[in-house]
């Protein structure tokens, strides 16, 4: 619900609640004023008749149309004036009328008189009816105006807020540009803007620190690793015994693993830093074919049968290196965890990539499959970061990956939820960074 709608609704609720109360108050005060003025008039009339009685003249017997009653009473009551109001039925007009009677008591020539005169006054119901009609129009008019003006005014008042929203929407930490927000004279928006500015500046600062750290970590670790690796290579060149060769071999294996872990973790960090932005669409089908070709020997070695359903003209917006890593990791898993004489089915459409392979069921829960350093059969030859990287690549590109085990097949499906670019518009061109050397068989 929009802010302006919320305000409008609150205005209307308040208005609806207040109206009956104000109506009651105005009704009461109108009725009271009318009765009071009528009472004053009738009291005056009574006084006038009393004067006539006093002077001995024949008293007037009627007001305008109603009879005046004059009677003697035994004593004067405490209140010299009594006012009573009653509803009576008027047969001629066939409706109720409201009758206001004023009785005044006088001491005239030592006799006590009660002089009563009455008049019909406007009924409460009529006042109420009149008011209701006015209130109805008033309400309709006010609600209409609230709805219209809040919309017009909010556009003006919230314009700087809207600008702020637009600015943050396109803000990206990677652009290394500071957040520039429009000036505003609204206190709350000024606070919001200054808060946003502080927050983004801090985030930008943290981001650059993190980047710096990952770069430094990389540099600091890679150089010692390079030294150890090169020294071992030189050591292997020297005159060594078989026993020493074995030891060197083991060390080389361990270093190899270390190098891979370091490299994979750095790749994950870079993915998290969103350092791989795709500038243009990529022929994903071509990369799929070239990665498949590079694995051909390995597939033959394990005597795996490969079924390839790769659609032509599948283009996606993804960084070429990431596309290659994604496919390489998925396919090498499909081969590595396969049986001898097993099978692999690779299906690529413009909506999804599905890789099915035979293999033993997972030994870990499927939901742990994409976690770092989780391996099904603790296969010593793998680091356990391959699928974590795949998952991260999917996250970065807005793809959705799912895993299933069905009838002896591991099924990994990557859904390209983003609508794939129109393949026709994509000109035929060689994808720049493919595998260094796709196998020619």
């Amino acid at each position: 619900m929009r802010l302006v709608d919320k305000f409008t609704i609150w205005f209307i609720i308040i208005f609806v609640l207040v109206t009956p109360v104000s109506m009651f108050i105005s009704y009461r005060s109108i009725k009271e004023r009318m009765d009071t003025s009528e009472t004053v008039r009738l009291t005056d009339l009574n006084n006038h008749i009393a004067m006539q009685l006093k002077s001995g003249a024949a008293p007037q017997q009627f007001t305008i149309s109603h009879p005046i009653t004059i009677e003697r009473v035994a004593a004067l009551p405490v209140n010299k004036v009594e006012v009573s109001e009653e509803q009576r039925f008027n047969r001629n007009r066939n409706q109720n009328e409201c009758k206001l009677t004023v009785s005044s008591f006088y001491n005239i020539n030592d006799s006590y008189y009660k002089i009563s005169s009455y008049n019909d006054v406007t009924k409460s119901k009529e006042i109420l009816n009149g008011m209701l009609r006015a209130v109805f129009w008033k309400m309709a008019l006010i609600i209409l105006l609230i709805v219209i003006t809040t919309r017009l005014v909010s556009k003006y008042i919230l314009s700087s807020f809207q600008k702020t929203l637009d600015t943050i929407q396109v803000f990206s930490l990677r652009q290394r540009e500071k957040l520039e927000l429009p000036e505003t004279n609204t206190k709350e928006f000024r606070q919001l803007n200054s808060f946003l500015k502080k927050m983004t500046d801090k985030a930008a600062d943290d981001y650059s620190k993190m980047k710096e750290f990952s770069e430094n970590a990389s540099h600091e670790l890679q150089t010692p690793l390079a030294i150890i690796r090169s020294k071992l290579e030189l050591f292997a060149e020297t005159d060594i015994s078989a026993e020493q060769a074995d030891l060197i071999g083991d060390m080389q294996n361990a270093i190899e693993k270390l190098v891979r872990i370091n490299r994979s973790l750095l790749l994950l960090t870079k993915l998290e830093n969103l350092e791989y932005e795709a500038a243009e669409d990529l022929r994903f089908c071509k990369i799929t074919n070239s990665v498949l070709a590079s694995f051909e020997n390995w597939i033959q070695l394990k005597n795996i049968s490969l079924v390839k359903n790769v659609d032509k003209k599948v283009s996606l917006r993804i960084h070429p290196s990431l596309a290659e890593i994604l496919l390489t990791n998925l396919l090498s898993n499909a081969i590595r965890y396969n049986w001898e004489n097993g099978s692999i089915v690779v299906t690529l459409t413009s909506h999804s990539l599905t890789i099915k392979n035979t293999g033993s069921p997972l030994e870990i829960p499927a939901e742990q499959l994409f976690q770092r350093f989780k391996k099904s059969n603790q296969c010593a030859e793998s680091v356990g970061l391959g699928l974590a990287i795949v998952k991260q690549i999917c996250n970065v590109n807005g793809f959705h990956i799912s895993y299933n085990y069905l009838e002896g097949y591991h099924i990994l499906q990557v859904e390209f939820t983003k609508s794939p670019a129109i393949a026709e518009a994509f000109e035929e061109k060689q994808v720049g960074i493919l595998l260094d050397s796709p196998a020619i068989v």
Binding site: Q222, I227, A236, A245, K257, W298
Partner: protein, 227 residues
């Protein structure tokens, strides 16, 4: 081949110099920007190994220097960053290739040789060793002047052996050379064995000498003298 290694890390530089100078290369070392510029102004080199992260300034500055002075040496960038930006910037500014730390010395050698081959004007693209000849242009190989029917990977493997004669090449180094370094995939090692086996069989079938020696526990060695 005359090589200048610009690398601030002394141990790594020592390894590179020791390895490269075994192949009749003349290797010199510069530790920082100043020394590098000094040497580049006085001598000519065939190849320059350039660490782009030097303590006294970005190695890219040296690249700029090389370009402004029209130095025709091949440049191989060494970086620990492994970030795509560096790679692209480096190659755009006139470097010939890019290698990421930690690298195998044999890989370094192969890359340097490749740059050297490309840089030599009118140089022929045929590498010969005794009865074996490899044409790096057409990717064709012959043994005893007979066509050797090998796959692209086997060609690359043979080339790798030839530029690293008499070196122990670990299976990892070979795997990384053939399949790149992004695979989380050490099972490729069996695969190296398969490729080496095929290569030996194919060369033998053309009456070639079996130069490839298995070094127990470590890998393989291409011996310049027959076993």
């Amino acid at each position: 081949m005359k090589i200048l290694a610009v690398e601030d890390n002394k141990e790594l530089a020592a390894s590179m110099l020791e390895f490269l100078s075994q192949d009749n290369n003349i290797c010199e070392h510069a530790e920082n920007y100043e020394q590098a510029v000094d040497k580049l102004s006085q001598y000519t080199y065939d190849c320059i190994l350039l660490d782009i992260m030097l303590p006294d300034g970005n190695g890219l500055e040296i690249l700029k220097f090389i370009r402004t002075k029209n130095i025709s040496s091949g440049v191989l960038i060494i970086s620990a960053k492994d970030s795509l930006d560096d790679k692209i910037v480096g190659l755009e500014r006139g470097a010939d290739d890019y290698i990421t730390k930690p690298f195998h010395l044999s890989e370094l050698q192969a890359r340097l040789r490749a740059i050297y081959r490309r840089k030599q004007l009118n140089g022929d693209h045929v590498i010969t060793f005794n009865e074996i000849a490899l044409n790096t242009d057409t990717l064709e190989a012959t043994v005893n002047s007979k066509f050797l029917d090998i796959t692209r990977k086997e060609f690359e493997l043979l080339l790798y052996f030839l530029v690293n004669k008499n070196r122990v090449l670990s299976r990892q180094a070979i795997a990384e050379h053939l399949w790149g370094d992004y695979t989380d995939n050490l099972a490729n090692l069996d695969f190296v064995y398969q490729h080496v086996k095929n290569l030996r069989r194919k060369i033998s079938s053309l009456n070639g000498v079996d130069y490839i020696d298995t070094v127990y526990g470590l890998g393989y060695r291409f011996k310049s003298t027959a076993i």
